[in-house]
Amino acid sequence: MGKKITPAKACTYIVLTLWALTTLYPFVWVILNSFRQRGLIRKDSFSIPLPGSGFTMENYEKAMDRFDFGNAYLSSLIVSVSVTIVVVILAGLAAYGLMRYRFRLRGACYSLIMAGMMFPVFSTIIPVFRMEAAWGIASSGNRWLSLLAVILPQIAGNLCFAIIVLMGFIESVPIELEESAYVDGCHVFQVYFHIIIPAARSSFATVAIFSFLWSYNDLFTQNFFLRVPKEKTITLLLNEISSQAGVDYGLMAASVVLIVIPVLAVYVMLQKHIIKGLTAGAVKG
């Protein structure tokens, strides 16, 4: 094929670029307007705010000043990192066991995991809340216990997806590798840590990234367990800002940017793993 641009090819690129604009431009627009002086957003929101013609840092100063972003980032990080670590460890072990062993309840276990993906979180949250309240971790007034009360159900919520994705990958690890390691005298746990984990590394990365993002972005569970202001995570803080900011659209735009930045950083650094890993799991499952 030559390098000539055919009309069909040009159309292809135009359509693709148009859709790319719809996913990219709204974010660019919000970022631009977060630097715009108050009041100008409603008149002229499309120009680039330059120093001297509407540029300001005031929105960010106000957001940082009026709301406790530092504490909220800390809460979010504690929750999401804990969820990610536990999900990766438990899902890896379970996926390996389910994929490699043949046992009587294997089919039942697999069906249970598939069914677990179907339950909407609203159908489990009330009993979970009552259970945790009875144990004394939910609504105890202690920040760390409240965070734990969010972490535990989020782990369960992410486990099923993680197990399914990891099973798909572990299946593709050649079993001969494991057998030869066994012949060399490796214990089954050594096989898991020295063969399976390195071989399926990128899928572990995928599962970790998605657990982190879903936990960080989740509004429903967090909203339910974290009621006290000092416990609030970043998602809850944004929800609160949206109800308090009123007509201060610059403040809203700045807050949106502040919550999106960590996610954006993770995405740009790791997007290769995100897309590759997800699809392998989804198509097989």
Partner: protein, 299 residues
């Protein structure tokens, strides 16, 4: 794969592999789910309060489902959402995937850009769309006025426009998800098949019709099931943008209605019944989709 090798003959370690994960799932998914079924038949007046025994009659909540006009609105809206999701989300994703599959330069960039909205929280997106649809002078109204298409701002959340305003962000966000799944499915189709087809004079649209789509069928089916179950569970984006049932109780979805009944009205047992309805609908609809679209194994 042949049945388990010698390495996996001894089942002892299996306990270590499976028990921790299943302990979590039993405690936090299966037990609460069963409890939820029981709750839906019980009489519970508030979030913290204990059950006061079974309802009289025990199916009272399920009977009430049939006479609830707001729930009917919610179901209607959810059905519209599901249809739009299947047609537009999967449809747009399919077109984009076919186009990206036909180019080489920039394919990776488009993937990255299309997938991006999915990693952003619904709270942030909801707030962003609130700014975009703002009345009277959000981004969309300003754009349309600058283009001279309208003379004054449209209230996008009014009764006449709310459905489009509610559905567009939900659909827009997840197009990239199905796009990425479909692109992967396309990459798995062997290039030999295309070459053989090209020799037989099968190119362009007929190639898509006779080679690509039939081979993509099982992936499309996966997308359909995910789209249907996903649509039934939609909650946070409409909730952040519209709140409870705006405008005028016409904007309910099954997810937002269930949340409102349970948490704002303390109608815990009725909320549990709605959650059951969502699960049952999800199972039934995705089974139908599977029956209709899933390729048979012998093909």
């Amino acid at each position: 794969m042949n049945s388990s090798s010698t390495l996996y003959k001894r089942k002892g370690p299996l306990v270590v592999f499976l028990v921790p994960a299943f302990l979590f799932l039993i405690l936090y998914l299966y037990y609460p789910f069963v409890q939820n079924i029981i709750n839906s038949f019980s009489d519970i007046s508030g979030l913290g309060s204990a059950s006061q025994g079974l309802n009289d009659p025990w199916y009272a909540n399920y009977a009430a489902l049939f006479n609830d006009s707001k729930l009917r609105t919610a179901l209607g809206n959810t059905v519209i959402l599901t249809i739009c999701t299947v047609v537009f989300q999967v449809g747009i994703a399919l077109i984009l995937a076919l186009l990206v599959d036909s180019i080489r330069v920039g394919a990776q960039l488009f993937r990255t850009l299309y997938f991006f909205p999915i990693v952003i929280s619904a709270t942030a997106l909801g707030l962003m769309f609130n700014l975009i649809f703002l009345y009277p002078s959000g981004m969309l109204n300003q754009l349309l006025m600058n283009l001279g298409l309208i003379s004054e701002g449209i209230d996008w959340k009014s009764q006449n426009h709310f459905m489009a305003t509610m559905l567009t962000p939900v659909m827009w966000q997840y197009v990239g998800f199905y796009f990425v799944i479909l692109v992967t499915g396309l990459n798995n189709i062997s290039p030999d098949l295309y070459e053989a087809a090209a020799l037989d004079g099968c190119v362009g649209l007929s190639k898509v019709r006779y080679i690509t789509l039939p081979l993509l069928r099982s992936v499309l089916c996966t997308c359909l099931v995910l789209a249907i179950t996903g649509a039934l569970k939609v909650f946070d984006l409409p909730w952040v943008m519209f709140g409870p049932g705006m405008p005028l109780d016409q904007g309910w979805l099954t997810g937002t209605y269930m949340y409102d009944q349970t948490f704002n009205r303390g109608n815990v047992d009725y909320g549990s019944a709605i959650a059951m309805l969502i699960v049952v609908l999800g199972v039934v609809l995705s089974n139908i989709a599977n029956r209709v679209f899933k390729p048979r194994n012998d093909l």
